[in-house]
Symmetry: C2
């Protein structure tokens, strides 16, 4: 079972869209996939049409429910939903010193999934820390823009610090360029900058800017289910193939 956190504290970098569509593409080729929504905004849950749940990730992190007890099913995947109650959890976990491995422990009983993908909020909070410590590796989704680079530096410093403090070896599996508009020349400069300044892989796959991806949530579906022939659906299926090769 491989657990991957999809992170970037910069907002709006396609974390949720990537978690959903990478997951859906993997489920389509019969992998057993679990998606965890770790964001108080609950975008992932909402985007897959999960609106009326009695228990959520908040209850799991507070120790009141087991992960198995809160799961829903969408597009062949298991989904652990989240909602605004996670904001309270963030406050109560955050004020304690030893609450960084709550998610890691909650995941321990689950062994029969091929992949667990964790959607993280746009912050470097205790929720993202829990996701990091629960993961084998990390995917960073990035827009190829200047402010994204500032965010990248912050992520790398955070991962270094977490590895040091918690004696771990969390690796960044790679950077996935998202919402790519190939006409913009900034993209090449950003890629070059990353290659020159970091020892980080940029995936060969990238996800093009495609309005279908932003329409899918209103249908409670991944774009893979909503518009399988769209550019973003094709790009995510291509990325799932690259991801599988790296993770087998």
């Amino acid at each position: 079972m491989t657990t991957v956190a999809i992170i970037n504290q910069k907002g709006g970098t396609g974390k949720t869209t990537t978690t959903i569509n990478l997951g859906s593409a993997l489920a389509k080729i019969d992998k057993k996939v679990l998606l965890l929504d770790m964001d108080p905004q609950g975008n992932l849950s909402y985007s897959l049409g999960m609106n009326d749940f009695d228990y959520s990730m908040a209850d799991v992190l507070l120790g009141e429910k087991k992960l198995m007890e809160i799961l829903g099913e969408r597009e062949g995947m298991s989904i652990a939903p989240s909602d605004i109650h996670m904001a309270d959890v963030e406050l109560s976990l955050g004020s304690a010193d030893d609450q960084a491995e709550v998610l890691l422990n909650a995941l321990k009983p689950l062994t029969d999934y091929d992949f667990v993908l964790i959607d993280c909020p746009p912050s470097l909070s205790i929720l993202t820390l829990n996701a990091l410590l629960a993961s084998d590796n990390v995917i960073i989704t990035m827009q190829m823009e200047v402010l994204s680079l500032q965010g990248l530096d912050m992520i790398m410093q955070t991962i270094q610090k977490v590895n040091k403090v918690f004696k771990k070896n969390i690796k960044v599996q790679g950077i996935l360029p998202v919402m790519v508009d190939k006409r913009r020349k900034l993209i090449h400069e950003v890629r070059e900058y990353i290659d020159e300044n970091y020892d980080l892989k940029i995936f060969d796959s990238f996800i093009r800017n495609n309005v279908k991806a932003s329409e899918a949530p209103s249908f409670g579906q991944s774009v893979i289910a909503y518009q399988p022939n769209s550019n973003s659906a094709k790009d995510y299926k291509g990325f799932a193939n690259e991801f599988l090769k790296l993770n087998s």
Copy 2:
């Protein structure tokens, strides 16, 4: 002195870009403007080329420095910078019950600005709460997309709750549509949905999707200074005019 918080807990909705460019456009017509960076990511500070400061908003919120002592000057505006130390502040303020008006109090000695614009992080944390309680009114920046609507609901609930608990009357002055691509039909549906479901003004101005806006931070400038004739610079100047009429 009018204090305005630019908010949206959804990530990447142009909060920072709007705070900088609305501020810069107002300063260009001789208004006295103060920008506060309340985001641990420090995007606003970085985007205006402020990288080496000894003291920041973190020190002000911890009561160790006065706001006047930490200001820098950029494009005729005063800037109160922020950096990753704000993440620690978020934890220490957040665990106390009476730390929601720290910013309001820190702003009290400053009376000679026409406008104070507060850039908020993508979260509904104690930092955003401080910004709300320090403000006369609020601007919500939004992409005209489905997931943005889910975020709007959350913001409105938060403002209602804050008004109730703190006995305030914080108003949403309006919604500013950002990164608008007029070819996408989603935009009209999202506008209609807002008109039908909320008693909220959508500004007449909107900011078009324009790569110049995302390039400006690498030059440490607002897009108004960097490319004054670009679409986004024109759009922000137009918005500053609409904003002035509403705030005079």
